[in-house]
Symmetry: C2
Subunit: 103 residues, 2 copies
Amino acid sequence: MKTNKKNELRKKGWRIGGVVEFLDLTPAENSIIELKLTLGRHLKKYREKLHFSQSQVAKILQSSQSRIAKMEKGDPSVSIDLLIKSLFAVGVNKKSLAQIINC
Amino acid sequence: MKTNKKNELRKKGWRIGGVVEFLDLTPAENSIIELKLTLGRHLKKYREKLHFSQSQVAKILQSSQSRIAKMEKGDPSVSIDLLIKSLFAVGVNKKSLAQIINC
DNA sequence: TGCAGTTATGTCAGATTTGACATATAATAT
DNA sequence: ATATTATATGTCAAATCTGACATAACTGCA
C-alpha cells in the first residue's frame, strides 16, 4: 500500500492496528476498509436519490444526523452492521447489496 | 412471519426488539438476521473446505473457538462485521462475498 | 451581507460486541 | 469403554460502537 494512501486513511482516524502501525495492511484489513467506504458511498447515493437529508434518514433509522454523516464519510467508528442495516432500511435488498459489494 | 419460525429464533437467543416482541419483524430486521445466518453457514462451509478446525480458524483470526462456533451457529451476539472479517480472513473475496449475500 | 438548511467533526455515557475461559456435549479413534 | 479431538453454550470484563449533543463549516438564496 502506498504511504500517502495510508496517511490519507490515518488522517480520517483509522488506526492501523497496534504493532503493525508501520506495516502494510493485510488483504483482509484492506477489504474491510474498502467495503466500509463503498457501503457509505452507496448509502449517500441512495439517500440522495430519495431526496432525503441526513436528518430525515436519521429519523427513519432512529439514529442521528452526525452518525449518518460518519457513515457516508467512512468514519472508522462506524460498523459494517450499521451500514448494512441502514442500506436495508432505505430500501436496498439483498440483490442490490450484493451488487454494491461486488463493484 | 410464522410463529414457529419466530420461536426458533427466540430459542437461539434473538430478542425481537422491545415493544415489538409479539409483532412481525420489519423487512430490514428480517434481512439482517437472514444475512447473519447465511454468512455463518458459509463461514463454516469455507472452513470445512480448508479442513480447519474452529480452533485453527480462531488462531488465524486472533479470536477464540467459542466465538467461531457462535458465528457458525448464528448466535445473536455476533456482528456482521466479525462475520465478514472472518470470511475475508479465510480467503473469500468481494466477488464471492457478493455471491454469498445474493443467494 | 445575513440567514436557513444541510453536512462535518469532536466528545462521551451508555449499549453492544469481543476474546477468553470454563465446561458441556458430540464425534472419532483405539 | 474410554481417550482424544471437535464443537456448543454460558459468562464476563474489556474493547468497541452507538445515539445524542454541541458546534463548526459549507451551500444556496433573499
